[in-house]
Symmetry: C2
Subunit: 676 residues, 2 copies
């Protein structure tokens, strides 16, 4: 970055660092959490300020969102769902191009992750019963706040409403400069405010319903999951899953068996998930129905090394550490090997996946300079995670989280094991056998049976499962009072039922461990959107000609066939080429519409088709018959025999051949681009 | 079929034919629908009787359902969802093998249909607002009947409950032979009975709740769609889609544009759909959440020829026509060309898709003899369809509908156009221009504006849209009464607002047509299940060794690598082979567990891996290093250089090479199968 810019950024960097140091000191001094939280909010606001100025002073390539939206809509990459019924916000249908682009992205994902890493694929139910999501924490925590129009009942997401209101005020000419500056600071802090602070803002600024001007209710919590009932009686309550991960966790035992009871292993799932957003906006970035691709890598909590780490350790990455964020510094280029060795990234497995994520994103067309990995600061991280990095892509909406990569520790398996009583752990051989003390209550089973009848089995199981401490407590109480009610139950036990405790020393050879989970989690729709923005291109010589410069590997259609004339002599060539290309499993678009060849090239570029084959009048007369083959980005053409087209395009599509090889091999052709 | 069997079947054939003729005569005589329906029920019962005896006398290969269930569960092809939480009936999770098999089936489907036929892929929302499903007819008609336990509230699907009850009675020793015969007839007729007849059976046999013995409620209708509300206010009511088709219909206009406004074209969608079954059973055959793959082919209603029909016209198919079903005849082998020419199959496009469906099913491993196409009889057909054939696969549950192939005429587009007012039609050029009479009301727009104010635009539009007849009616009424209220509105119009009618003759060059829809619709889970059953194999020499003989093209894992020893010298070979195979995008399973090679072959067969590479002691010493390559079904092995393994398996997997070619090329190897 140039010096002049750095000079302007410098004071903001200092502001961030000051605040970062303050937070650090407070933590070191053991200040109360609530006080630290407040300062972290301020820290984030300053960081955001720095980021915004950085983007303003050193802007990415100009990008015209409305131009892209026009192309996306006109050529039906995607559109609002049920548009003829008025559409539904937060839901989109993928048209042919969007659908094929997504399919190609996912196919490459499958090869890159599942095949290359020998992962176990699963496909689990979307309809999820309540107890599963109670255990996972989603029923209690997966909520946003909203306020309602007291008369019309319309709902607004609390933070969005405030943002809208304050931004309007900032852009109002009547607002003083001082007020504007203050509101700007508040806006930057919004993200981390709690419901009390947000509610106070609504009152302070006397906000009303934006569409009616009616008063608003107090903020209420709204769980983002879609409730459903399964079966006709309404007895089984559940939700549409809010993420795909839980399906993998509840199948852990079967998957471990499948892997012959060995760690580490990874399971992968691609599928839909649902969030009933209060007021979705930002197009594809916040929707109610979306595709995720998630990997859960289960490993020994005490050994998170990765056997293939060496193969990526020299990969340079743009890491934006929590440290740097607190110090007002920028993204740092560093190899993942160094990052793990230096302790910046928690462990090899986490680092390995970060590297693989980067390789994947670059392969499908995300730009290196518009990709960074941002580490969650301690106060952002979910309570169960020990380290978490988001792959963020730069778009016109700013830096957008597209892939999360977290070390979730043993949190999920522990939750489900607790909720179900099913052991979700792995036996790990001990380096050497160990003596372990056990304390078991000695039972008079006959007496217990007579006393508790049908429930006696339950009593026996509860007693067998007592910890050493609980067994001691039981024994002490029985000695003192002669009776004892088992905590959490209504079973009153007497001394004669449990005359004594048996103490033993047992030799054990294995220990039970709950695996740690490393989770790379892809929001496919967000990657898809970022990819469209980052590859959207306007031709230098004609700003009306726009197209997506997608890599061939993900381009929805690989090749177009354009007969220059509708004369019947052209038809056999069109058919022959289409059939040969289709046989190679290449998706082909035949454009035999009238219209100049230049216009047809523009049409074929628009939808990102990397190669175009044109049948012209020379095709008819040449021997062997030749056609032209044109590459989208360079618009260069060669003249090539008809029979060579399919194998050449197939090898280009499989990256076995580069366009430069084609240019070297076949004679250049230079006509047709203009209207003929 | 042998003569002795035919002799036993003959009287049943006669019974069917008698009844078929009766139905035909009644139709010809114009008998009331309700009477015909009754006789059709009896016809179906007789047909079923014939089918059951046919299967009994000429049974398919023995099949042990519990043996397959054991393998499916043990190796986690699929399992009940949320098993550790007690599971949910009617929901299944696909484990690694089931997931990869499904993926491969769908990938082949994509190549076979979407790529080869240049279809437009789409991916539409699952959350569907109510008006869409109101228009499609699902809100009114997509229901089953159930009865409830009056005390516990437990629900039972009415026909299932009756079936269970009657079957129990039939197998009861106390039931007389005459009673049994009568009950058998009733059972065969159940499928087509209406709610009145079913309710009468419940009363007649005094049926109670099977689990509690409590009385039951009267039958109530239960809509099978899962209701949801979209957004936080609960204002947008909707459902999880019950089929994927509607998403294509509502996008028709955009897709037509995408296809440059030309017919025919086909759109394809793969995705989940949901049915809230009352009491799901029969494993994967009746579930609440399932994957469909649907194609909607839009074509000119007056020209349903297909340009590629010739390429399939010689394909022989097993067709079970409505005619044959009514005459007590069997399936008939006939080429699809003959079937269309003879009018048995309604048109070329329908026939083309039937042929392509058969080609697909055989390619993925469905057995020719266990596949038939059954035509819907006139009374079974949905009211909008003009011809409908189901691809049925034979399983231990009988002949199961796996793919439907229907000509849905213009039904769906007409419904949605009516509901939305959006034109869902295509302009077709007329052979020659045509004179058309138009009649338009002449309006005093000023007066209308003054009278109706804000609503005047609506009034004008309604008047502009009047048909000739309605305009004449309007004019007549205005002349007679001086005023007229537009039907369906509250707009009172006067003579002065509409002084006269304008009559014109216009020359038109195109006509609007609503395309017909031909719909092949795949229940992927059902094809998946039928495929597992039909390929389940028990080794002739050892009935404990079971496996799935899946074609390589869909086998979940293509190749296994088995080092004969765990000595470190073997490891480089394992790594080298795994890496070379993975680079070819082949899914590889390394089994380096201890255990005899025979047991490991059995394990690798079980999960249907078609090829196994074994690294043995000769591998270490041979030069060049060689390994053995084994084929699953024949268990034959060859000895082949390490470097040849990956390219050979890749070509085998792509069907570019047959196993017989491998046997011819490399020396046979005959050891190892036994324990070493």
């Amino acid at each position: 970055m140039d010096e002049a810019i750095e000079k302007q950024l410098s004071p903001l960097r200092v502001r961030v660092k000051e605040q970062g140091d303050k937070v650090r000191e407070m933590k070191a001094a053991g200040a109360p959490d609530i006080d630290i939280k407040k300062e972290v909010l301020d820290l984030k606001a300053r960081r955001k300020e720095l980021e915004e100025l950085t983007l303003k002073l050193d802007p990415p390539d100009t990008f015209d969102r409305s131009k892209m939206a026009d192309l996306v809509k006109r050529r039906f990459f995607y559109d609002n769902s049920f548009a003829i019924y008025g559409g539904i916000t937060g839901q989109y249908d993928l048209g042919p191009l969007g659908c094929d682009l997504t399919r190609n992205m996912l196919e490459e994902w499958h090869k890159h992750f599942v095949l290359q890493e020998h992962m176990l694929s699963v496909s689990c139910s979307i309809l999820t019963p309540e107890p599963v999501l109670k255990a996972s924490g989603h029923m209690d925590k997966f909520a946003d706040y909203m306020v309602k129009d007291t008369l019309s009942g319309e709902c607004y997401r609390l933070d969005h409403l405030i943002k809208l209101h304050l931004e309007k005020k900032v852009s109002d000419k009547k607002t003083s400069a001082a007020e504007k500056a203050e509101l700007g600071l508040v806006l930057n802090r919004l993200d981390g405010m709690d419901v009390g602070e947000l509610g106070a803002l609504v009152k302070k600024h006397d906000m009303k319903s934006p569409s009616t001007g009616n008063p608003l209710t107090e903020p209420v919590e709204f769980n983002l999951m879609f409730p459903i009932t399964i079966g006709p009686s309404g007895a089984i309550r559940g939700f549409l899953r809010p993420e795909t991960a839980q399906g993998i966790f509840v199948n852990f035992k079967r998957l471990l068996e499948f892997n012959q009871n060995r760690l580490p292993f990874a399971a992968a799932q691609v599928g839909n998930a649902y969030r009933n957003e209060i007021s979705p906006r930002s197009g594809l970035l916040r929707v109610r129905e979306f595709t995720m691709a998630e990997i859960e890598h289960f490993c020994d909590p005490d050994d998170k090394s990765h056997p293939k780490f060496d193969s990526v350790s020299n990969l340079e990455m743009r890491l934006y550490s929590a440290e740097a964020q607190m110090a007002g510094e920028s993204v740092r280029n560093i190899t993942i090997g160094e990052a793990v060795r230096g302790g910046l990234v928690a462990n090899e497995t986490l680092g390995y996946y970060m590297a693989r994520i980067q390789q994947y994103l670059l392969k499908i067309g995300i730009k290196e300079k518009k990709l960074r990995f941002r580490q969650h600061m301690a106060n952002e991280m979910a309570h169960y995670a020990c380290d978490c990095w988001d792959a963020e892509c730069l778009t016109s909406y700013g830096w957008i989280e597209c892939v999360g990569c977290a070390d979730r520790s043993a949190y999920d398996l522990t939750c489900h094991a607790k909720a179900t009583g099913v052991k979700l752990s792995v036996e790990r051989p001990l380096p050497e056998p160990k003596d372990v003390e056990t304390v078991t209550p000695v039972l008079d089973n006959k007496l217990i049976g007579k006393t508790f009848l049908k429930q006696s089995k339950e009593v026996q199981e509860a007693l067998a499962a007592l910890s050493i401490e609980d067994a001691e407590t039981l024994d002490k109480n029985l000695t003192a009072d002669g009776k004892y009610t088992l905590p959490g139950t209504s079973f009153e036990l007497t001394r004669s039922m449990i005359p004594s405790l048996k103490r033993e020393i047992k030799k054990v050879h294995v220990e039970e461990i709950v695996p740690s989970v490393i989770e790379p989690s892809f929001g496919i729709g967000r990657v898809f959107y970022a990819l469209l923005e980052q590859t959207f291109t306007v031709r230098e010589d004609d700003d009306k000609r726009t197209y997506f410069a997608l890599p061939t590997i993900v381009a929805p259609v690989k090749v177009s066939v354009l007969p220059l004339s509708s004369k019947p002599e052209f038809e056999p060539f069109t058919k022959q080429l289409a059939s040969a290309l289709t046989k190679c499993n290449l998706s082909v678009k035949i454009d035999d519409s009238t219209g100049s060849i230049g216009r047809r090239y523009a049409r074929t570029d628009e939808v990102s088709i990397p190669f175009a084959v044109t049948i012209d009048f020379d095709t008819l007369s040449s021997s062997p018959h030749t056609v032209t083959l044109r590459e989208r980005d360079s618009t260069l053409q060669v003249r090539i025999p008809v029979s060579e087209v399919a194998p050449t395009v197939q090898r280009l599509a499989a990256s076995e051949l580069q366009w430069s090889d084609v240019l070297a091999r076949w004679p250049r052709f230079a006509q047709q681009e203009a209207t003929k």
